[in-house]
Structure formats: structure tokens, C-alpha cells
């Protein structure tokens, strides 16, 4: 409890009484247009592949076509002989450029199986389709790819682990010959007297649930460009990443360089969604090649590579029991989570740990125990994608609650209300610890009010009549709802520097990383609230290690909270310093001064002013002359907001769907999302985050399935097989915000990037089940395809009716 500040301490800017009717800008909370937009809309964004570099070389990677095989012969001579090829690196060749061939573990763990991370390039054995084996560097990408076709490899296929159930079987093949077991790690999380809770329960229900693997699929894939400076022995690496500083540390370590000589810059990033929160083998191999060859080297991932070489997420099997009292009050939840980690563990156990510790979500669960088995399979490695284990956990909890509601004939909303954490119990100790070892405390929020708002908006009480009326016309409507909580704002810190130059330019640097959310605008708004300047006057640089020494980056819905708080603290300091110096320069007391448009001016006579540039010039110092008394050098400040506690964003989603039981087609008629992400810096951008998060969740619920066959060969390697939601599947999404300030940070905000995704699949699946209640089918998986629905309908006692086509979203009359 001591990690929670007792009350929200929102520091508002001082307000001097305006003589001329001028009131300071209120940028925090404003629906400001984004400062990022003009360049992006004009085609002047600078994404990785847009960076012009004189005389670059281009790399392409030979990737394993086998899920598991031994390499018995590798002949690179044909590739090396191709005109235009500059170098061909296999594992031995790249190893000579590096301190090691194995990637560092993202989050070190004492308990994890050793030697479990990917190779920069694999050498004698490959363990998943898509694993990088050889890097060709040539004068053009086309030549590099031509050369790949000239590489001769003999593979000896090895037995394949294609599924984590199989991985646990006695006599199962082992995922890699250097793995001691297919189990990377086992752990148990929980609290309370679980078995006693079950022993005394009126009812116990068991579910076996499966959430299938998908991928992040930002529209821009990964990409790396590196340039080595032989004079300084320094290297600059541009990479489409969510974590510039961590990539810098990894490159420095792997290339044996001092990190001061490694600069990592994230240019405009075309989306991340989790898959770029990792140092990938290519981010080590490309700088190594650039240093070795003395020329810039670029690699841009194509979509075919992204499907198999960028990380995946979500594959988890859950066998869970819930114990309830006669009135449906939860007594306990217990079970086993089987997590498919893929062939390597690049990051650690954070994802299954998240999933296992977030099941109880917004509910009061007195006793909980989850046994977690982290399994290795011969598939693409796994780290968190948008939601990071929470979507699966919400699926589990909400499916269990739907089961209880059905079995006990309790209304689904009433059952949830009975079990939600009530506002008077906030802050609520979840009984678990987070990764920082700090007790997981839900800081704030009104969960019953959130649910009530969703029910009111979708007219929950009126739905049975709508459903009856539709059924009378042969249409099958269903309603589903789900609650969610996301622990956002993961620490330990984020950085921000605000610096005013002697020329009057205001720069804001942060180690947080913009992947398209509008981070620059949000941070500029927080700074502008204090400095009272137009957003365009603040130049925001995210994710450039040459500009700011420390940073964590973009993950876990953290940046507005963590970087925003740092910006807030730094901006207050710059503001106060400017006013103090202004007091001395203008000879007017501080409380009679104000900041406005880059000046400190006298409120009563605004024609008397000094500019921030004037002040910065004064504070840069002149040799031998004193600074104003009591003032430190420079008009700048560094904010390093630090916390291990987390701001908990919550949501309730409710949706209405129509299902055609003749075809299995599902159409979402209405989608209502009520969210509480604390104070909103920019409600328009917040809505945009929710829209995108929900549509990602709709993909997980209905479309996105990274398929593998029994030999762990991927069977969905294009956007024609792996379906992302498109505009015609998506209804108008109704977003409602509640704003309960979080007491965990000085600006009262909670994260928002992932919250939209988490409750979507359980809400939609519940609605489908409701629509198909005449067939009495049970859904225990996501995504749910039309074919799967037809299988279940055909297996039921009631016959399948003729098809009755649904109208698409946005069509006239909807």
C-alpha cells in the first residue's frame, strides 16, 4: 500500500490574474490536432526505408524452410560468386564480428532454462520456419535475394514439436538439441486457501479454453539501417523499434563496443503493437555487417518474413475451475495454463506471468492458484502483442462467468456486478505481486459504474425484446458483455528533458518511443499546459539515444503515464525557473508575471517581457560573469518519474451481433466500449486508441489465426490467408469515457493503448453464443470462424437453417 500516493496530486499551473483578459492555454485535455500529422499526410514521413543514405548496401536473409532440422551441408560459393554480392555471412562469419552468437535474454531470469534465446544466425540446427541462417549483403536487395537462391543447403529433418500438448507427452521430441526439456519454466502464482474455497463451494465448474496464436502485424514491418564511422569507431543504427535504448545496450554488448559509441535512432515507426519491443537478431547482424564492410547496410523486412520471423502471441491452453457460492459469488479460481513459447525465449516469462496474474481482473476472487507451464515448440518465438496476456486472461475469466451465469440461471450482468470490486474497496490489493516484486494494487476506478454505463448505452434491458422480435423474423441476435482491467504504466521510470535553446527553440527529448499513437502531441500538450506555448513550438524527439541517455520505450500502455509525468515535472521546473529569472530581469515579482507564447511577460503590461530565448542565453553563461543569484545554469530540466506501482485502466464492453446460422457468418451490429483511463490528455487520440484496440480484438475474436500444420509448417503466410479486419467488418464503435484520476502519478492518467483490445474476444464470443442459444452451442476458443460455428451447429440437436445473408457494416439502413 505504501507505493500508492494517498490522493491524486494534480499540479495545475499557477494562474496570474489577467489584466487584458488573456487566459492561459489549457492544453491538457484538449482535442488538439496532432503535430505529427502534416508531414505524414503529405507523404513526408521518414520511416526506416525512407532514410536516404549515400552508397548503401542491402541485406537479405536465408531463412529456414524447416520447423526442425539439422544442417548437414551449407555451400555459399554460388552466392559469393554472384556479381554485386559484397559479403555472405553464415553463423561462423558473423560470430567473428560479435562477442557471442546467442542473443541476450531480454529480461534476465534466474529460473528460466539456460541457453534459450535465439541465435543471431543459426549454425548447425534450425528450430522454426523463418529462423535466420545466412545473411547476404549486396549492392541491391534484388541481387541479395538472387544470391539467396544460389545458396545450397542440405537439411536432415528432425522430429517436430508442433503443439504444446504434444510437447509434454512422454517420448515427445525435444524442441532443440541444446534444450534440456520442452518445458522452459514452470511456475505457480496465486493467493488464499484455494482448495478450501473449492471444498466448501456450492458449485464448481470446469472449462478448457484455447486462445489461438496471431501476430502483431504493424503495417510497417521491421527494418534496420546501420552506418559505422571508422574514425570514431562509432556506429549509428536506425531501426523500427519500440525500445531504442535497450537495442543500443544489446548492440553495444554484442558488438563489443562502448555504448557511448552506439547511437540508436527510431525514425517514424509504422506501428509496433508489441512486436518491436525486442532486440532481434537482424538488429545485431546488420550493424555487425556495416562495421565489417565499412559501408552502410540496410535491411527492410518484407511481409513474408514478418509472418514467420517477427514474434507471435496468444497461443495458450487453459484448464480452469471456478468455485462459486449458491448466489454466484466467486470463492476461488484455479487451473493450469499451458503457454506456447515457440522455439526460443527472447524476452523471458513476462507474457505468461502477465496472463496468469491478470485472470481475476476487475473481480473479487478470494482465492486463486494458477500453475503455469511454459512450453517450447518448433514455432516462431513469442513475446507480448497488444494486450500482453491480458486478452487471454480476460477470455478465461469472462467465459467462466458466462458459464456460472448459465448454470445458475443468473443474468450475466447481474452476476458480474455481484463480483466486481466495489469502488469503496479501492485501492484494492489483488493478493499478487507484479514483476517489480511490488504488491499488485488496483489503484482506482468505479467498476460497477463502468458496467452500468455500458449496459445503459447498449440498452441492455431492452435487448430481450429486440432478440425476440428479431427471432420472430428469423434473425438471430445476441448480446455479449465483458469487463477488463489493464495494469498500465509499467516502471521503473521514463525520461524527459525539456530544453530551451538560446535561440528560443523548445526541445523535448524522451526515452519513450512513438509508434504512431501521437505520443509527441500528447507530451507536447502536457508541456504546453505549463509553458503556455502553441504545440508547434515544442519539438519532440522520441527514441534517439544520442539525445537522451536513459529510456525504456513503448510497451505496457505506459508512455502517457510515465513519460507524461516526467514531462510534467520537467515543464514545471522550466516554467518556474523562467519566471524566477524573469523576475530578476524585469524587476517584477513572479506572481505578476506569466508565460505566453515563449515569453515571460508582465501581466499588467504585456509589452514588458523577456523571451525564453533571452533567458536561455542568460543561463548559458558568459565567461567570468555571474548567473542571476540563486539560479543554476541552463534553461532546461530533466524529469525522471519513477514508480513500481501501476495505474489500472478498466473497461466494460457490450456488443450486439447477428449470426447467420445457415452460414456461420457473424456481423457486429453495435459495439459499446466504456473506458476509464483516468484523466485524458487528448480525448480524440484516446478514442483513436480505443478504436484501434477494439478492432485488434475483433481480429482476435473472429479472424486472426496464425495456422500451422502438424509439421509446424505455417499455413497462413499472406494477408489472403491470415485475415486482418477490414472496414466492412467493423461497426461504428461507441466509446464512452469515465475519468477517475489515478493516484499513482502526478497527472492522474492511466494507460490506454491496450485496454481496448482486452475484453473484445470474450464479449463477442458471448454474444455469438447468445445469438445461437436455440442451438445451445458452447464456445471455448478464439478466434471463432464461420466454419467452426457450422461444425458446432451441425453437431447440435437442432438442424442448420438455410442461409440468410447479413448486410455489411456501414450499409444503408444500419
Amino acid at each position: 500500500m505504501d507505493t500508492i500516493v494517498p490522493a491524486c496530486q494534480i499540479i495545475e499551473p499557477a494562474t496570474a490574474a489577467p489584466a487584458d483578459g488573456y487566459t492561459a492555454r489549457r492544453m491538457f485535455g484538449a482535442r488538439a490536432p496532432r503535430i505529427e500529422d502534416p508531414a505524414l499526410l503529405r507523404g513526408e514521413g521518414r520511416y526506416l526505408d525512407d532514410i536516404r543514405m549515400p552508397d548503401p548496401l542491402h541485406a537479405a536473409f536465408l531463412r529456414s524452410p524447416h520447423a526442425h532440422a539439422r544442417v548437414t551441408r551449407l555451400d555459399l560459393s554460388g552466392a559469393r560468386a554472384l556479381p554485386g554480392v559484397v559479403a555472405v555471412f553464415d553463423a561462423d562469419a558473423i560470430a567473428r564480428e560479435l562477442t557471442g552468437l546467442r542473443m541476450p535474454l531480454g529480461f534476465p531470469s534466474a529460473t528460466l532454462q539456460k541457453d534459450i534465446t535465439p541465435w543471431v544466425l543459426s549454425c548447425t540446427e534450425v528450430a522454426f520456419v523463418g529462423e535466420a541462417m545466412v545473411m547476404v549483403v549486396a549492392e541491391s536487395r534484388a541481387i541479395a535475394e538472387d544470391a539467396l537462391a544460389l545458396i545450397e543447403v542440405d537439411f536432415e529433418p528432425l522430429p517436430v514439436v508442433h503443439d504444446c500438448h504434444q510437447a509434454l507427452d512422454d517420448g515427445s521430441p525435444v524442441v532443440r538439441s541444446d534444450a534440456v526439456s520442452n518445458i522452459a519454466e514452470q511456475l505457480q502464482v496465486g493467493f488464499g486457501e484455494v482448495d478450501a474455497a473449492f471444498d466448501g463451494a456450492a458449485h464448481v465448474f470446469a472449462e478448457s479454453l484455447f486462445v489461438h496464436r496471431g501476430a502483431a502485424h504493424p503495417m510497417e514491418g521491421r527494418g534496420v539501417l546501420a552506418r559505422h564511422d571508422p574514425v570514431e569507431d562509432a556506429i549509428t543504427v536506425w531501426t523500427s523499434t519500440q525500445m531504442a535504448h535497450e537495442v543500443m545496450h544489446s548492440i553495444a554488448m554484442m558488438l563489443g563496443m562502448d555504448q557511448h559509441n552506439v547511437r540508436v535512432i527510431a525514425p517514424d515507426v509504422g506501428g509496433g503493437f508489441g512486436c518491436k519491443y525486442l532486440t532481434y537478431p537482424e538488429e545485431v547482424a546488420i550493424p555487425a555487417a556495416a562495421r565489417c564492410l565499412g559501408r552502410p547496410v540496410k535491411w527492410v523486412e518484407d511481409r513474408a518474413e514478418h509472418f514467420v520471423s517477427a514474434i507471435h502471441e496468444r497461443d495458450q491452453y487453459w484448464d480452469v475451475d471456478i468455485a462459486v457460492d449458491a448466489d454466484g459469488r466467486i470463492r476461488g479460481v484455479r487451473g493450469r495454463l499451458l503457454h506456447d513459447q515457440g522455439a526460443y525465449t527472447p524476452q523471458g516469462i513476462n507474457l505468461p506471468y502477465n496472463a496468469a496474474t491478470s485472470v481475476t481482473g476487475p473481480y473479487r476472487v478470494p482465492a486463486y492458484r494458477m500453475d503455469v507451464i511454459i512450453c517450447q515448440t518448433n514455432k516462431t518465438p513469442v513475446i507480448p502483442v497488444r494486450g500482453a496476456g491480458y486478452p487471454q486472461a480476460a477470455f478465461v475469466m469472462e467465459r467462466l462467468l458466462d458459464r456460472v451465469a448459465r448454470e445458475l440461471s443468473i443474468d450475466r450482468a447481474a452476476l458480474r456486478l455481484r463480483n466486481l470490486i466495489p469502488p469503496e474497496k479501492m485501492p484494492y490489493d489483488k493478493g499478487l505481486t507484479n514483476r517489480a516484486g511490488v504488491r499488485s494494487i488496483v489503484d482506482s476506478g468505479d467498476y460497477p459504474a463502468t458496467q452500468a454505463a455500458a449496459l445503459a448505452r447498449i440498452d441492455y434491458d431492452g435487448f430481450p425484446a429486440r432478440q425476440r422480435e428479431a427471432r420472430a423474423r428469423g434473425r438471430h441476435l445476441g448480446l455479449g458483455l465483458a469487463n477488463a482491467v489493464k495494469a498500465t504504466s509499467r516502471g521503473p521510470f521514463e525520461s524527459a528533458v525539456i530544453r530551451v535553446s538560446p535561440q528560443g527553440r523548445i526541445d523535448l527529448y524522451t526515452g519513450a518511443l512513438a509508434m504512431g499513437q501521437g505520443l509527441a502531441t500528447a507530451l507536447a500538450q502536457i508541456a504546453a499546459e505549463q509553458l503556455d506555448v502553441p504545440l508547434e513550438m515544442i519539438h519532440v524527439t522520441c527514441g534517439d539515444t544520442g539525445r537522451i541517455s536513459l529510456g525504456m520505450g513503448g510497451f505496457a500502455s505506459r508512455q502517457t503515464v510515465m513519460a507524461g509525468s516526467s514531462v510534467h515535472l520537467a515543464a514545471i521546473e522550466v516554467r518556474n525557473k523562467a519566471l524566477k529569472v524573469g523576475e530578476q530581469l524585469l524587476g517584477v515579482p513572479m506572481d505578476a508575471l506569466r508565460l505566453r507564447d515563449g515569453r515571460v511577460e508582465v501581466v499588467a503590461t504585456p509589452t514588458r517581457f523577456v523571451t525564453l530565448g533571452d533567458i536561455a542565453r542568460k543561463l548559458k553563461g558568459a565567461p567570468g560573469y555571474s548567473l542571476p543569484p540563486g539560479i543554476t545554469p541552463g534553461l532546461e530540466s530533466t524529469g525522471l518519474f519513477q514508480t513500481n506501482s501501476q495505474a489500472h485502466a478498466n473497461a466494460c464492453h457490450a456488443c450486439e451481433v447477428e449470426v447467420d446460422p445457415g452460414t456461420g457468418a457473424v456481423r457486429i451490429l453495435r459495439y459499446v466500449a466504456v473506458h476509464d483511463s483516468g484523466r485524458l490528455v487528448n480525448p480524440t487520440m484516446a478514442e483513436g486508441q480505443i478504436h484501434g484496440g477494439i478492432v485488434h480484438g475483433i481480429g482476435n475474436a473472429l479472424f486472426e489465426k496464425m495456422g500451422y500444420d502438424d509439421e509446424a509448417q505455417p499455413v497462413t503466410g499472406t494477408f489472403a490467408d491470415y485475415l486482418l479486419p477490414t472496414s466492412t467488418e467493423i461497426p461504428h464503435i461507441e466509446v464512452v469515457f469515465l475519468e477517475t484520476p489515478s493516484p499513482t502519478n502526478p497527472i492522474g492518467v492511466k494507460g490506454i493503448g491496450e485496454a481496448g483490445t482486452i475484453p473484445v474476444a470474450p464479449a463477442i464470443v458471448s454474444a455469438i453464443e447468445d445469438a445461437l442459444s436455440p442451438w445451445n452451442i458452447r464456445l471455448a476458443e478464439a478466434p471463432v470462424s464461420p466454419v467452426r460455428l457450422l461444425e458446432l451447429i451441425d453437431a447440435s440437436a437442432k438442424p442448420r437453417p438455410a442461409a440468410a445473408p447479413l448486410t455489411p457494416c456501414g450499409a444503408s439502413g444500419t
Binding site: D268, G271, R303, G516, H732
Partner: protein, 167 residues
Amino acid sequence: MSSEEPVHTIAVTINGKAYERAVADRKNLADFLRQDLQLTGTHVGCEHGVCGACTVLVDGVSARGCLMLAAQADGCTIETVESLAGDAPGPSGLGPLQQAFRDRHALQCGFCTPGILMSLTELLRDDPSPDEEAVRVVLSGHLCRCTGYQNIVAAALQAVSKACGAR
């Protein structure tokens, strides 16, 4: 390009400017625009014609820059996102559709945006007052992972209503 690489010389008009260039036979239009002409506003997202990020207008008709060879564009007039600001003033001036995208927060990471702008430009030329369904059908040829499409639909409809108001 290696010395043996077969090339064709093509003449194209791009955003009102005439170019004559020798281009490798196998180079697609998107790569030609990006690599040879530094028109990097056209993005490449999937290289198999699904995501729509590389959409440009060829003789006024939308085409996937990744599915068309540059050599096939010989003699054609091509419009890319770089043309859309038109004579809007200033270094950050925006055309009406671009402005609607900014007003309605219709982009986040912006990677898919240029292709979507080009398809909607085509739609609005063909049908000055499309309804939501028509907009969604055009957008269904594009993938966007950030926005959930809703604000893109709103932006297109705003551009329609402003254009209608101006008539």
C-alpha cells in the same frame, strides 16, 4: 542494379512532372517511385497486393504499386500522395482530404495513410457524394492496424460534406 540486369527506358508523368528513366524490368512501380525518384510517400506494406499502402493513381485509376512493374507505366500519368497538397500554402499545407484526415484523427502511425488517401481521391472524383457504405467498400481494399477505420470513414465523409458545401 547489376550490369546484366535487363532494363527498359520509360517516360512517365508523375505529379505533373515528366521523367524519362531506365528502369530494371523486374522493378515494381512502388520501388521505382521510392528508390529511383525518392518519392517515398508511397509505402510498401505487404508486396502481395492486399494491404493497399502502395496504392497510386495510374491514368486516374487506383493501382497497387507493388503489383505493377515500372515498365508497365511507360507513357502513363501517375499521381502519388505527394501531389495531394496541391497549392495548399506553406510547407505543411494540406489538401481538403488531407485536412479532413487531420481534423478527424484519421491516421495514427500514418504508414497506410498515403494509399488510403489515393483510393479515396479516386472515389471522390468518381462519386462526389458517396455514403458511408461506399466509403467502407473502398476502404476494404486497405489494411490499417491503428485506427479501426472509424475515423477514416468520418474523414472521408467530412471531405464529402465540405466539398458539397462548397459547390
